[in-house]
Symmetry: C2
Subunit: 148 residues, 2 copies
Amino acid sequence: MHAADMAEEFPVVGLASSALEAARLLARDRLPGLVVVDDRGAPYAILPASQVVRFLVPRYVQDDPSLAAVLSESMADRAADILGGKTVEELLPAERPELAVVRGEDTLVEVAATMARLRCPLAAVADDGRVTGVITASRLLESALAAH
Amino acid sequence: MHAADMAEEFPVVGLASSALEAARLLARDRLPGLVVVDDRGAPYAILPASQVVRFLVPRYVQDDPSLAAVLSESMADRAADILGGKTVEELLPAERPELAVVRGEDTLVEVAATMARLRCPLAAVADDGRVTGVITASRLLESALAAH
């Protein structure tokens, strides 16, 4: 079992992609995160769905969650507006979350070791500098347990 | 929109549950993580799929990933054996990952604020101390964008 056998098609987004489109992809496919690629298609970072949620919550509410109730439904109304004018690059936290990157020829153990070291919920499979697929932690577990 | 309206059924596991069963649930439903409840059904922790992967990788390979290639396929053969004799409690990291817990009556903004503060990919909905459902970050985004 090699990374290329485990990899699945998975939407990737570019740094200049619309933040709103990225949020819609996460919502539509119920994904835990998206792989972000740079201008040349090389893996750049992971954009966790929780980071997008974080972006939607005003800083003063993050600092004092008791204020959340005051905002009431207004965030839902404003979510599309907040994300509409932003790029994926603007959504990424200042300290870019490190993305696990593996090669198609890597074994299951190598993929697991890379994920484990980075505590990353998914790994991008990249060959010749371009992302060819994605392996989630749950997909890896499926492969690891399939032999039984 | 309140937490109770967004919550979905989601498998929960107990601290004494079989680690192998938990891994199979994560694999079968391709979940990013499971909610772990205590003996009384109260929310206790989140068990991320990546933590289970971490458990499968021997410490000396985590410390020196170049050794992963040497292990080759043996982990896949051993995964079920490694997990078979363990409980979910044994899988959890020493520093228990904090789980976002919300009430059914909480608003979308309150759920988002709790997730954002804890950087948690999902929130357990609990009323009267028992978990009644789960909201993932992607599900929350779906709700937030549904108005548009």
